[in-house]
Symmetry: C2
Subunit: 333 residues, 2 copies
DNA sequence: TTGTACGCGTTATCAG
DNA sequence: CTGATAACGCGTACAA
């Protein structure tokens, strides 16, 4: 691999001049510059990013640490972050924690050691420790959930979305909507439950705790919860489910019992997964602006990297969800 | 941020000794070693990965360049690669090209500049150029499709999978299976078409070109293709679709026309997407061992990084698909 | 066994 | 405007 020295030799100039030409910072005599560019081209020279980073004490890389690469919500967030980064000529590397706190810690460690210039992360349930990142003054933006530390954060108004969804079920004429939400420890799960409860109150009814289940954010546990709800003496007639993977579990249980959403029961779930409109009947959802969450996070991170935004107090951006009514929540006569 | 010098000062030793202790390479007096570890702990010292990489001329990072982060097939591949890497203490960074050759070129560039120690990639349709990586002697493993250069490759026997799927349709009693496959330029699309054709020949019938469509690997274009097939004077009675996203398009078109898979038409698709068994009726698929593809690729890469495997000729690993019969392909009386 | 000194490849400072 | 030189933080050959 050719280095700057080689280019300099071929062009008959000093390495310093090569650096100046290639980075286009200072004015260099056009004749020399041309010679340098030509030499670089002929040698097919590429700057060594590692050496550059060491010298500059910074990297053109962001780390994006997400908890589940198989959740379409997070992949959409990733796209949003990526697009902002690309626009600035930055690379973003994706780290998948699988919701595993150890993996998360590992990647946080890597982010520090590799001196990334910024981190966007969706925190795990347990209190993620970003103190080292902060000590290294590497800016962090949280998405989906809050961190304990005061950092920029982008979330959606989950409670509001849940409330809208549940109200919609009531408006359709369903009378006993159940709520299958995430683990009690998670912020989003609690907010979605809270919104569900508010809708009951709005409907002048007292929320029934027997119709609420906490499960993991996956299909299997959700399915069990739905089954247990259906076994109730007075079962629910409709379901608000807190996530698209959980919705898959519900659908499976329904099918097995010959229950048809939009006819026998009502169903609405968080997240507009790609397949939501393709299942039969099409599933009503509370859509999160996942891409926007990512791009807003990217913008906030951008403001922090320069020396300028450093002193601005941390801010939280709250985006709105939107109700997408399809057939699964309708009540047919 | 504390550096090695600081740790050395606190422990009352030289930086060299700190390096030796922390990397556990040479024998160091246990008393000193203890002092060093203690000092490192108290300062919460982390080695600067950038400086380390510059000195060592290598990185503990792999780049995984995939063409579509929203395709469950590739996320599963990613998990496979990750697990192998983790086991070796390596980090893997994910780069999403969106099937965009420019993005791919960018990331290939980044991989070189940042001196990653290995690359796993799913090549784009157009000939991806990894010559620079090879010049820099950074090993590359291709997955899903071949590269022009002779590098280790992990693929599945697509033709065989397609043949199995189509034969299954015939065995169910369907007589005019259509084939909706990917862009003509792509290796996988051609192979799946080839397998489909072989099944016709096996059935002692001449494949009908009128029942074949090439579309992009997404839902929209696939839907149009299915629609056009259904408008035929003699339309197909069943469908073999080359990818899960395309299957979504087919499902949408069917629903709009009131056509029920597994009753009115037969349907089987490549890739066992997470939602495939949850749609109604559950969808029959040709499952690719995506996770295994990733982990095999990781293993091959591992063999290349040491000086040892360098001279072994490139090898191609071909994994088998498996037929998962659910309801969508059945023919009810 | 431990310390000193150099070099990895680049960019910024400072003379010229 | 250009060139020599130092420094980024670490690992290792060499000397002690």
């Amino acid at each position: 691999m050719p280095k700057m020295k080689d280019v300099a030799a071929l062009a008959g100039v000093s390495p310093a001049t090569v650096s100046r030409v290639l980075n286009g910072v200072t004015n260099v005599d056009e004749a020399l510059a041309e010679r340098v560019r030509d030499a670089a081209l002929r040698l097919d020279y590429r700057a060594n990013g590692v050496a550059r980073s060491l010298r500059l004490q910074r990297t053109d890389v962001w780390a994006l640490i997400i908890s589940d690469i198989e959740n379409p919500f997070f992949t959409a967030v990733a796209r949003g972050v990526e697009d902002i980064a690309q626009r600035e000529g930055l690379s973003v590397v994706l780290c998948n924690t699988d919701g595993n706190p150890e993996k998360e810690a590992r990647y946080l460690d890597v982010a520090e050691r590799e001196q990334v210039s910024g981190v966007v992360m969706s925190p795990n349930r347990s209190g993620s420790d970003i103190s080292r990142l902060m000590a290294a003054s590497i800016p962090v933006v949280a998405v989906d959930r809050h961190l304990d530390e005061p950092v920029d954060t982008v979330v959606v108004d989950s409670a509001r979305g849940a409330q809208d969804a549940t109200r919609h079920l009531f408006e359709q004429g369903w009378e006993r909507p159940a709520c299958v939400t995430g683990p009690s420890a998670t912020e989003t799960a609690e907010q979605r439950l809270e919104g569900y409860r508010r809708a009951w109150t709005d409907a002048k009814r007292k929320p029934l705790t027997s119709l609420v289940r906490h499960t993991d954010y996956n299909a299997e546990t959700s399915r069990s919860a739905v089954a247990s709800l259906l076994r109730l003496a007075k079962p629910p007639d409709s379901f608000f489910v807190a996530n698209s993977l959980m919705a898959l579990g519900a659908l499976e249980e329904f099918r097995e019992r010959g229950i048809v959403p939009g006819r026998d029961v009502g169903l609405i779930a968080f997240d507009d997964a790609p397949w939501a409109r393709f299942v039969d009947p099409p599933m009503s959802v509370v859509a999160q602006p996942a891409y926007d969450i990512g791009s807003r996070a990217g913008q906030l991170l951008l403001e922090r990297v320069g020396a300028r935004g450093g002193r601005r107090p941390a801010q939280t951006v709250v985006l709105e969800t939107s109700l997408v009514i399809r057939a699964s929540s309708k009540r047919h006569a």
